[in-house]
């Protein structure tokens, strides 16, 4: 597992170089798996009964758990945006699980986390102007219009801190595991790294996913409510 992000091939589109990196390929793999799972659940959904059993129970429990979680943090008015957060949740968690297999997690690259934080930022602006109309723009000039630069910096710091937090946590796990794999002899590389993977990938990944989703929900709620 090398530390830098590898470049797999370079596309040339009308004189502009487009770099297809390891991160992009890995996130395509995750997207393919998740889309296949979604289609599988959609086909299974035709046979769903009134009283759930087996597989239907699992799916309904997952959706209901996230629905309650979103209802507590977002509130009734913004609940229609919760599927977006559910898809972010599933993608980030499965990409942090991806490094169990010795591959590079897409969240250990600033491109992925920066894109998610940018999406949250755009969501804040769009939902703020949609629900509060002029009041949202006025909130940048509170309490006086001299405070506009301060408010702007405070608002821009939100996606920056959101993306750096996830990126730093995932990258630190990757670095520690890379150091372990490159410094130890081969006979301690069987079995023992499982504990490191369980701690850095599964446990930290779950906590950081939860925190990313709950903090983006809080930001969207404060902007729109």
């Amino acid at each position: 597992m090398p530390l830098n992000v590898d470049n797999i091939w370079i596309l040339d589109i009308f004189g502009i170089e487009v770099w297809i990196t390891e991160t992009i390929v890995n996130s395509w793999i995750i997207m393919a798996i998740l889309i296949a799972l979604a289609i599988f659940i959609r086909i299974k959904m035709r046979k769903f009964k009134e009283i759930p059993t087996g597989f239907q129970n699992l799916v309904e429990a997952g959706v209901e758990m996230f629905h309650n979680f979103a209802q507590n943090t977002l509130g009734e008015k913004l609940l229609y945006i919760s599927p977006w957060f559910f898809s972010i949740f599933v993608f980030i968690f499965s990409s942090s699980l991806f490094s169990i297999f010795g591959l590079r997690a897409p969240t250990a690259d600033f491109a992925t986390t920066g894109a998610f934080a940018l999406a949250t930022f755009i969501l804040m602006i769009v939902l703020g102007t949609r629900h509060k109309k002029g009041e949202y723009i006025k909130s940048y000039f509170e309490p006086h219009f001299i405070f506009f630069p301060l408010n702007l910096i405070g608002e821009l710091a939100k996606p920056v801190s959101l993306s750096f937090r996830l990126f730093g946590n995932m990258l630190s796990g990757t670095i520690i595991l890379t150091l372990y794999y490159s410094l130890t002899p081969i006979f301690v590389q069987i079995g023992i790294p499982a504990f490191f993977h369980a701690f850095f990938d599964v446990f930290f990944g779950a906590i950081q996913t939860y925190i990313f989703v709950i903090i983006s929900q809080m930001y969207v709620k404060t902007a729109a409510d």
Partner: protein
Amino acid sequence: MEALAKAIGLIHIAASIALLNGLLTTFGQAKIVSTAIESIARQPEAADSIRSAMFVGLAMAETSGIYGLLIAIIMLFANPLVNQLVSLIG
């Protein structure tokens, strides 16, 4: 060559200084957790909401530690000022 070695040594010292903010970050996080445990012991029925508030607070307090880590990583692996430092020393 000697100038490059000196520059790398200086960069490593600077990265370790940047990581020292972990001391204060850990202290703040310990304070958050100890207060949360105290309030859970006082009101066990509010444990769920206290726990979720504690996680959000921990994440907020962790931000400065993560910034220090990123600064150290950038200084070690992607330092844009190595050439200037080498030409300044040598």
